[in-house]
Amino acid sequence: MRLNRFGKSGGRDVSQPERPSHRDRTAHAIDAQLASLASSGDDSAFTTLVTRFQPAVFRWALMFAGDADEAEDITQEVFVRTYRQIGNYRNDGSLEAWLYRITRRAATQMRRKRTRRGRLALSPGAQPLRDVYTTDPGGRVDRERAGTLIRELFAKLPRRQREIFDLVDLQGFSPTEAAERTGMKPVSVRANLFKARKAIREDLLATHPSYGELSR
């Protein structure tokens, strides 16, 4: 399970052939077995599956959500749907990719629901209080930092560009892999990536003091 192109598992080099390694095959077999057990009603297998994929799902959800709290809600929703639909999972694909698709759908639907509810809310007092992490100040700071970062870095990007930028430039997937995950054409992935980079970097360059002199 790849999380970070800058550390942890690292991104795959584009020039390398895309043959699954022994480790990947083993992980795939374990996932398939867990899914099979969970679909037959084994709750402990489902718990193992949740434990295994929760960080990844939360990480994906963070990219779709505005903040960490919303990402938690999306993660919960993803596992509710996973429990209901695990019987539909076929072993020919990766469980991770299958979960990613569920996360994407869940995030989109929850965002629509939130938008509708936001429209329906009559006053700011109708909004629920989200600051519930008062017992862990360090964690709260981290979450606020993540929220600020997401807002700063991605707020101006459309959802699709944000997703592609995260998959390719932050998580280290190749555009082809990103296309497989998102169900888009590789050309569209590249176009979205191009636009996202341009928007993000131009925003950064514009705030840099020496940019004005350089661009002249």
Partner: protein, 233 residues
């Protein structure tokens, strides 16, 4: 390479895929401003990836799994309830339609498509009750009938087949055009007629009976064909 070209390259290409011997990197190696910008970009993306990847979810995975199972089961029950409610609603609508709406619609359709005709016949002489007595035996088919106005209008409305309506019209017409019909006789005319009849019977003694003279001492004119009797003393 100029700084502007370097910036335009940096704006859209992947920092990861830029080799050290590329034109951009070579320019950055010599230009402190572009080098600073490149470093800034790298740091920013690194920080973003780092923060996002290292931010752990706060919920416990076991609790998350349990609540997911519970929620999924609750939703399943909810779906069943919704389906049952929907089926009940459909059944209610169906029963209502079958028992209430369809019969009314069918009845109105029958009325609209029936071959019966309705006609109002004006009466000049007969009363509606008399006209009804006359046509009653002839208006017998299903759905047919006659209606007498409550507001004392001299008319009768007949509903029936074309034959029945025509028959009723003819009958009423023949009774109305009959000069000897009872409705055409005024009391004076009736008395005169009776007197003529009496004169022809008893040698022209007049139209009124004198007391003790005739067979009848009743002042009321006798109706033709009706036997009169002497009062008993």
């Amino acid at each position: 390479m100029t700084c502007a070209e370097c910036l335009s390259q940096l704006a859209t290409s992947s920092l990861r895929e830029m080799p050290a011997d590329s034109a951009v990197m070579q320019h950055c190696a010599t230009c402190p401003d572009c080098s600073r910008l490149t470093t800034l970009l790298r740091e920013r993306e690194y920080n973003a990836a780092n923060v996002l990847n290292n931010l752990p979810p706060t919920s416990n995975p076991i609790t998350l799994a349990e609540s997911s199972v519970r929620l999924a089961q609750r939703r399943r029950v909810g779906r069943v309830v919704v389906m049952v409610s929907g089926a009940a609603l459909v059944a209610t609508i169906w029963v209502t339609a079958v028992t209430m709406i369809l019969p009314v619609a069918r009845r109105s359709e029958i009325v609209a498509n029936s071959p019966l005709r309705t006609e109002t016949i004006t009466l000049r002489c007969l009363s509606p009750e008399q006209a009804a007595d006359i046509i009653n035996p002839y208006v017998r088919s299903r759905g047919s009938g006659y209606y007498m106005p409550n507001s004392r209008i001299s008319a009768i409305t007949v509903r029936g087949t074309a034959d029945e309506v025509a028959k009723s019209r003819n009958l009423i017409g023949s009774f109305e055009s009959d000069p000897s019909a009872a409705c055409r006789s005024t009391p004076f005319g009736m008395l005169k007629k009776l007197g003529e009849e009496d004169a022809s019977n008893d040698g022209g003694r007049g139209m009124f009976h004198r007391p003790g003279e005739g067979t009848s001492n009743d002042a009321t004119p006798a109706v033709a064909g009706k036997a009169t009797t002497a009062p008993k003393k």
